[in-house]
């Protein structure tokens, strides 16, 4: 039995939590295959039979719209001989899943529909009608404002209880739509990081790194932005997404805040100031006022979150409608699945902002994450060495404010989010039990 309790101290962790394959195996079992995992959005599976293949922990799963209209999550495995039922990332299976090996067929809720030759099981230990020939289902499926999650464990808190205040990720995103909901753009960019999954999560709320890691992009964008401003008097908001790295100095990052919730979830408050006074924004605000009234519109647009991290596998940027799902592949290999959304009822120009961010920051040609991924790889390599045993999360330790289990950092560059993530990690890994 691994003694994980000894690897995590309140202000530092042992490097093996990133590099030990045995710890990774346990994380998959205890964290990824027990907690709630985001599997997709309602608008991704509009019609009965629409499906997407998705990995939950190490389990290949299928998210499918059942004939009755509800989303279901099934193991992608035929109960007969183990063949995967779908081999594509996405599609429409019609009314049934048909196994390509022996044509066992299943309803989209997993129930056996038919065997090609029903006779042959009399007197055997297998009773096809008993449920023994159904596709295994995820233990629990739940959704919140159209975002669908599953848990492979029948036990544990319900989705909303588990999300707690971090459900603001979805409220903040959906409320920004005049119609109160978002629609997924059916394109998933997949980028693999050559590093442990936790390195990415830590980076998402690390306000110390952007001015350093992204200096080159910030500077480059700022130069072109200034040139455009001189020539035309204005520049597209896209440039601001990038130049903010150059215009936000390291000390300025301290003015932002991180809010750290139970279960490892955290928020980094916003820094980009995404309410310019241009005609597009004003038209959008008018649509929001028509939908919600002025007071509520101000409340909604006043929410100022940059990243909401839903531990252990989801990074959401509500004001720009971006979502990254984390799928750990190995101790040193992490897949991110990257999506963006359209605010229903908002003008096209507002969608273009989300799209601009998606293309420039989150696509495989990212002008930003190229340097993050370089750091992640270097981090993982360094942590694999004997050059040191501990990873420091001491910054502003003891200087955070804590009330009701919620830790609020007084400084944006506090390493409170990392300490908070490991508090949850330790608990989920069984060290607290």
């Amino acid at each position: 039995m691994l003694d994980v309790a000894r690897l995590v101290e309140p202000d530092r962790v042992h490097r093996s939590v990133y590099t030990d394959p045995a710890i990774f195996d346990r994380e998959i079992a205890e964290i990824f295959e027990k907690n709630w995992t985001y599997v997709g959005h309602d608008s991704q599976i509009r019609n009965p039979g629409d499906y997407w293949a998705v990995q939950v922990g190490r389990q290949p799963m299928i998210l499918v719209r059942h004939q009755d209209g509800t989303p279901r999550v099934l193991y992608n495995r035929c109960p007969h001989r183990g063949n995967m039922l779908v081999g594509n990332l996405r599609g429409n299976t019609g009314k049934v899943f048909s196994c390509s090996y022996h044509m066992w067929q299943f309803h989209t809720d997993g129930k056996l529909e038919s065997l090609p030759i029903p006779r042959g099981y009399e007197g055997t230990r297998l009773a096809p009608e008993s449920g023994a020939c159904d596709i295994k289902r995820a233990a629990r499926v739940a959704s919140y404002r159209g975002f669908i999650f599953c848990s492979l464990s029948p036990e544990g808190p319900g989705l909303e209880e588990w999300l707690g205040p971090a459900k603001v990720a979805f409220d903040d995103m959906c409320d920004r739509a005049p119609e109160g909901e978002v629609e997924i753009v059916a394109n998933c960019f997949r980028v693999i990081q050559q590093s442990n999954w936790k390195i990415f999560l830590e980076n998402q709320l690390d306000a110390q790194h952007p001015s350093v890691t992204h200096e080159s992009t910030g500077r480059a964008a700022l130069e072109v932005q200034r040139e455009l401003e001189r020539e035309r008097g204005s520049y597209p908001l896209d440039y601001h997404f990038l130049s903010a790295f150059a215009t936000t100095s390291i000390p300025k990052w301290d003015q932002f805040q991180t809010i750290n919730y139970p279960n490892g979830h955290c928020i980094l408050t916003g820094y980009m100031g995404l309410r310019p006074r241009d005609p597009d924004t004003l038209a959008y605000e008018a649509a929001m006022t028509r939908a919600y009234g002025e007071k509520r519109m101000e409340e909604i647009l006043g929410v100022n979150n940059h990243h909401v991290l839903i531990y252990p596998g989801l990074s959401v940027q509500p004001p720009l409608q971006q979502l990254r799902a984390v799928r750990p592949l190995a101790v040193d290999k992490t897949l991110t699945e990257i999506w963006h959304f359209r605010l229903k009822g908002a003008p096209e120009a507002i969608y273009r902002r989300a799209l601009g961010y998606y293309n420039l920051v989150n696509s495989p040609s990212t002008l930003v994450n190229a340097d993050d991924l370089e750091n992640f790889w270097k981090c993982h390599q360094g942590l694999s060495s004997d050059g040191g045993e501990w990873v420091s999360f001491h910054r502003h330790a003891g200087n955070d404010d804590e009330a009701d289990g919620i830790v609020t950092s007084r400084f944006g560059t506090s390493e409170a989010p990392m300490r908070n993530q490991f508090r949850a990690w330790k608990d989920m890994m069984g060290a607290g039990r």
């Binding site: 964008a221 072109v224 040139e227 040609s365 190229a370 340097d371």
Partner: protein, 157 residues
């Protein structure tokens, strides 16, 4: 010189500029309103308003170039290089000053002890100008463009 010869010379020159990391030279092959586009999926018909792997006008290309050449572009520190092969050139149309040509490419990239391969089709929408052929739109469809990326694409393909 036939149109095909003219187009081939352009394509070979463009590949050479990429492999030589002559970023400004690459950008200068585009018209002032030229766009470099790598669609997110093969069904897309326009770069405007849809997710793209690249959708860059000359200004955004300049941001990319300035990033690549900045001394603190950390991911540029490891040695990396590419080799492009371009072939199967077909001139689809040649009317007035406008030429449309398609071709296939294969690019091998070497970065920090690892090789990656990208291959697919180019579609060049070219214009005859006093300076020679210039690109209004380059469409790049990679056959492996929709798969998971081991690391990212730092420069144009």
């Amino acid at each position: 010189m036939s149109t095909r010869d003219e187009v081939e010379a352009f394509l070979f020159r463009q590949a050479e500029l990429l492999d030589g990391k002559s970023w400004q030279g690459f950008i200068d092959l585009f018209t002032p309103d030229g766009v470099y586009w790598m669609p997110a999926s093969p069904e897309q018909t326009t770069w405007d308003g849809v997710p793209s792997i690249f959708a860059e006008d000359r200004n955004l290309m300049t941001v990319r170039m300035k990033r690549l050449t900045h001394p603190h572009a950390w991911s540029q520190a490891p040695m990396w290089g590419t080799s492009h092969l371009v072939g199967n050139v077909v001139v689809e149309s040649d009317e007035g000053d406008e030429i449309v040509a398609r071709s296939r490419f294969h690019m091998m990239e070497f970065r920090r002890d690892a090789s990656r391969h990208f291959a697919g089709s180019y579609r060049h929408h070219l214009r005859r100008t006093p300076e020679g052929l210039r690109l209004k739109l380059q469409r790049v469809d990679m056959v492996n463009g929709q798969g998971p990326y081991e690391y990212v694409l730092q420069a144009w393909v």
